[in-house]
Amino acid sequence: MVTNNATDTRTKLIRIFTFLGGIYFFLYFVLPESAVISLGMKAHHEEISNGFIVIGAMALGLGLYNIIRAHGARVVFQRAGWFNSLALLVGLVAMIGATSAQWLENIRNTKDIRSVQIVGEFATRIVEDVRTPPVGRLVPPFRERVSALIRYGDDRASLVEAHTNLSVEAGTNGGTSILVVEVRERIATARAKLEELKGVSWQQPTEENVGRLTQFSQDVAKLASSYSLMKRSHDAHGLSQRLYDFLFDGLFNQLGSAMFALLGVYIGAAAYRAFRVRTIESGLMMVAAVIVMLGQISFGKEIYENMPSIRQWLLEVPNSAAFRAIRLGAGVAGLMLAIRMWLSIESKSFSSGRK
């Protein structure tokens, strides 16, 4: 049993949170830009906004829970329609599985591709640090950095070679053979550069050496971009991607379109049923509908040449005026309600802390 006292405290607490939820966006709107900047809201707006999105995103489990509870029970106790519920749960699990698998694979590949890019970025960074020695940041001596670069570069080059051969064997380079050729050329170039780097003494960062590094980083960047294209087209043939595509394109999209297509049929029944000219009002509605329909098809022009322009006029003048009025009215009502929501102005609101 909850005492009224506790209830009141909760009610207060809920109202305070409701107010807090709105205060940021409200201030962001009502304060002049100069103030928003000086308060640092502008600088962190992105992160703060993300924070709000995160809160909502956390609710995603509510729906899942509700569905699994309802249909899970039906399957377990074999209630009427348990078979359909089973189909639902299978669909759910399959989709989660396929999406995760495809996602994880994507993460892995991105990691590989990034690692190749990093070789280039690192080379550039070494050059930058030579040009303008870093402040407040400790870096190993020039020579060690370069040898680290060369070692890592060798390693990544072998990785790219391995993957290229893999995709050739798997025959997944059908449409991308040009790509494979390109990748192989670029590996060759990068390798050659690496060999060249190995043959140089790195005691001192001379202009010539630094130039070599810059050139190397550019070659690696090129390699990385064509490697990523090849890798993606290779993954498109992976099992997880295929399964995902099957569920998404083969079922999800198709079912969605089919449902929508029903409307095309229902609209016939609606038109037949509802456009009885009983009153002037329904008559007006019918005439407007027919004119607009004729105006948007080629056939309309054969009946009357200016049909499209009449349609246009109908939409631009009377229709948009009425529409604007509806939106404006609803908008004003929404505004008042928004203020009430934010300030929890309720005689007996959801914010009552009763349990």
């Binding site: 993300n50 999105i53 990523s228 294209l229 969605g256 929508f260 037949y272 049923r273 456009f275 246009q312």
Partner: protein, 286 residues
């Protein structure tokens, strides 16, 4: 009374027959589509400047939105305007990947030797949740490419040379919003703006939302409009005028099937008004 199921059947036949026999007619002229063509045609970009096109549609409205997306991209690609593709709508992600590829392939087939490659002609920033909030913070970001971070392949967008230095949102020279959803469209209209910046927005809407779109066209918040599939059909005709090799037969057959269905619908309305009369007379006799 004509039975409900009979009407259902009638509608399916009306749509089906023209498709089975592949009948195609010239679409009717749409001024709004021509206006939009001119708006897009006038867009000129300096290095680093881009167009940003939102595919905010799912399988439910592809029939209308996909052709629109295709004609708009075709036009931008032909003019070599780099495009940032993204979406506020989860189910759009497949089309973000598919449509630009199709268009690029078609153009490459039409003009051998020329290339439209991912990362150069376009980049796919994928689905971005958060709607209004997301758009607000992008508009305020110092560098759009940094703000968007990674593309759908997990690559930093700034890695692609063409998109490495977009900078502030002012450098987005054209905003295309292709959707049948009123909410996401409102997000663009309401939040894709700054005190000192209002983008050129063009919009591909489904026929449902045409009237609403007109309000924004009228108030100047929209600069161009594609009205449903008819809009796309006429836009493709305008493109064809300038580039005779451009292919659009499929689009025209669809458009014709639609006309046929419209006529049946109008007949149903007439029938709906006549049938009761007969019924009443029947009663008198009985």
């Amino acid at each position: 009374m004509v039975g409900r199921r009979l009407i259902y059947l009638l509608m399916i036949l009306a749509v089906g027959l023209p498709i089975v026999f592949g009948v195609s007619q010239k679409p009717s002229r749409l001024v709004s589509a021509e206006r939009m063509y001119d708006v897009v045609e006038q867009v000129r970009v300096q290095p680093g400047e881009v167009a940003m096109v939102w595919f905010d549609f799912g399988p439910n409205t592809i029939a209308e939105n996909e052709p629109q997306a295709q004609v708009l991209l075709e036009h931008l690609f032909r003019n070599r305007i780099p495009v940032v593709l993204l979406s506020q709508y989860q189910q759009a992600e497949r089309f973000l990947a598919k449509i630009p590829n199709d268009v690029a392939k078609r153009l490459e087939a039409e003009m051998p030797g020329q290339q439209w490659r991912y990362g150069e002609a376009w980049v796919n920033a994928g689905f971005r949740p958060g709607g209004a909030i997301f758009i607000q913070s992008m508009v305020n970001a110092a560098d759009v490419s940094k703000f968007l971070g990674r593309d759908v392949n997990g690559m930093p967008i700034a890695q692609y040379h063409t998109f490495s230095s977009i900078g502030g949102v002012e450098r987005v020279k054209l905003v295309g919003e292709i959707t049948g959803l009123v909410g996401v469209f409102d997000n663009i209209i309401q939040f894709f703006q700054k005190n000192d910046y209002r983008p050129t927005i063009v919009h591909g809407c489904t026929s449902i939302t045409i009237p609403e779109a007109y309000i924004f066209l009228d108030s100047g918040q929209l600069k161009g409009l594609l009205e449903g599939i008819a809009g796309a059909a006429w836009y493709s005709e305008v493109i064809k005028e300038h580039f005779p090799k451009s292919e659009n037969k499929q689009l025209l057959v669809t458009n014709t099937a639609l006309s046929a269905a419209h006529i049946v619908l109008i007949l149903l309305i007439v029938l709906g008004n006549i049938a009761p009369l007969f019924k009443r007379r029947g009663l008198h006799h009985g």
